[in-house]
């Protein structure tokens, strides 16, 4: 599945930014059977990651010769990491840096564009505003991959194919992000505050950057994080847009290594398999760490975003 859109949930009335107060719990009683059932579910979700961690410590030969869910007699995680980073003159490092570049530029750009647009639609009335907003809203349901091939054809004409822009530009437009920010801005930015700033003689740009953007914080972080994940995980778009391995993001790079490992079979070049496995592990560490560290932000953003029907 390729959709990774920022999203939010229903609020009876969208509240101001900030964590929603936790409800006092009546029951302090815990249920052991329910806990055990959920731990079983948790085991399913962690199983592949556990396997990946174990497999990253093995040589390609040990992958075949030892039991998959436990260490072999000669763990070699550091050797594998070193080989992953030095294979093909360090192309893996390129892939990591490319991924960071594409993801960060896209996420910051998309979040700012959505915030400015959402603020504009929420706080100003102008000719055609309703039409323009509905047009964007209708686009929420248009799948991005249906756009990818025609975008490729257009970019080929404009000479943008096989450049970082081919990945960044399409990731900047996030219709759902704009929708989210409009709803968020309507509630989080009080009109009276804007009026007061205007009376004080502040310009519109200054009001937006100094006052509104701060109030839009949690919504902004939500759009930012989810665009970051979507771009980090993007495979289809870079697959069709790029053919220079030095420009690949990590997803396309790993897929190309996996194809090599497959074609190599069990022969001499099959060392690739250990590299694919170790590279996979290395590629998920940054995002998992980011999500765990920023959980307060995205969880409050999800709760406070609010989708009204």
């Amino acid at each position: 599945m390729t959709t990774t859109t920022p999203t939010a949930t229903a609020l009876p009335e969208a509240t101001a930014p900030g964590p929603t107060p936790r409800r006092a719990r009546r029951r302090a009683r815990r249920s052991t059977p329910l806990t055990i059932a959920m731990l079983a579910a948790l085991a399913y979700f962690l199983l592949p990651l556990f396997w990946l961690l174990i497999a990253s410590t093995k040589s390609t030969q040990d992958l075949f010769n030892s039991f998959g869910l436990w260490f072999s007699h000669a763990p070699q995680l550091l050797t594998n990491i070193k080989e992953t980073f030095t294979q093909d003159d360090g192309v893996f490092v390129h892939w990591l840096l490319n991924t960071v570049l594409y993801a960060v530029v896209s996420a910051v750009g998309a979040a700012l564009l959505a915030a400015a647009g959402g603020y504009g639609f929420a706080k100003f009335r102008f000719r055609g505003d309703r039409f323009a907003f509905n047009l964007v809203l209708g686009a929420v349901m248009v799948p991005t991959t249906a756009l990818a091939i025609p975008t490729y054809l257009l970019f080929a004409k404009a000479g943008l194919v096989n450049t970082p822009w081919a990945i960044i530009l399409p990731s900047l437009v996030n219709p759902f992000g704009l929708y989210l920010m409009r709803i968020y801005a309507a509630d989080a930015v009080p009109d009276s505050l804007l009026e007061a700033a205007r009376i004080d003689g502040a310009g519109e740009a200054r009001i937006f950057f100094r006052i509104a953007l701060r109030l839009l914080g949690p919504g902004l972080v939500t759009v930012l994080l989810f665009t970051l994940v979507a771009t980090w995980n993007n495979y289809f778009l870079p697959l069709i847009m790029l053919n220079d391995p030095d420009l690949y993001p990590i997803t396309v790079g790993l897929a190309s290594w996996a194809a090599q490992a497959q074609n190599g079979g069990a022969g001499a070049s099959s060392d690739m398999l250990a590299l694919v496995v170790t590279g996979s592990l290395l590629s998920i560490v940054p995002l998992v760490v980011a999500f765990l560290m920023l959980q307060r932000y995205w969880q409050s953003g999800l709760a406070a975003g609010g989708v009204k029907q």
């Binding site: 599945m1 390729t2 959709t3 859109t5 999203t7 939010a8 949930t9 229903a10 929603t20 409800r23 009546r26 815990r30 249920s31 806990t35 959920m38 979700f45 992958l63 075949f64 039991f67 564009l113 400015a116 647009g117 504009g120 706080k123 100003f124 009335r125 505003d129 686009a139 349901m141 248009v142 799948p143 991005t144 991959t145 249906a146 756009l147 025609p150 490729y152 054809l153 437009v173 219709p175 704009l178 205007r198 519109e204 937006f208 994940v229 995980n233 495979y235 289809f236 997803t251 790993l254 996996a258 194809a259 694919v276 496995v277 996979s280 995002l287 998992v288 999500f291 709760a303 989708v307």
Partner: protein, 292 residues
Amino acid sequence: MTAARRHRAAGPLFVAPFLTLFLLLFLAPLGYAAYLSLFQNRLIGGNVFVGLDNYTQALRDPQLLHGVGRVALFFVIQVPLMLLLALLFALALDSGLLRLARVIRLGIFVPYAVPSVVAALMWGYLYGPDFGPFAQLSRDLGLPAPDFLSDGWMLGSLANIVTWEFVGYNMIILYAALRTIPQELYEAAAMDGAGAWRIAWSVKLPALRPALLLTLLFSVIGSFQLFNEPNLLMKIAPDVISSSYTANLYAYSLAFTGQQVNYAATVSFLLGLVIVIASYAVLLTANRRRTP
């Protein structure tokens, strides 16, 4: 210029950057695909206007119809299962009955941060007959290894990967919605003598409606454009996953292997149309049920 007039002029300026890019990167490709779909590139005569010929061809193209049929089947089986699991997990987390609730919540969500490419690679190796632990275990027990990558299992194996990736994401959306239900509603229900199940059914589920609808809509859009997972499993099971296994794989191979640009644009455009129609069907059904 007065403050009021400056104020009025500022609105369009705030929305202009987004709308400009939206026009160039969203509407223009859509329009270009529609335009391309009306032409054919022929050996003799070059680019020829053919009206709706590409569409009549597409609607009778067995490869496309099978691809769409397969993702529709995938949608009907995988999405209800995934959303049901997400709903049950969210209710369990919200019930306050769990120990280690925080660990469980984050652990189930973690796969969302794993790129689908890595998820497909991992599961592909886990499924595999050579060093997958399932095959290893069955060999040790003297049983035939389950062939997860065979024709009969493949759709289920793909469904498992997608479910693994997205249950946690949907669970978090539903859980966040549950946390916003006002406490007074529970107190009122408890005073009326409602038990935990009754509260889940009569208070929590109705309050989850908008969030559930949202997760359903994103699942429609996601399933119908299924690409990454089959594209990667194709490399380890080329005999099972053909280049037209899903509609999106078909569009991709038409454009980049077959060089049939016009027909690929037609297929992309049709696929987009199918998804928009399916999304509106979901919305309409949901809304009709709400207002009888």
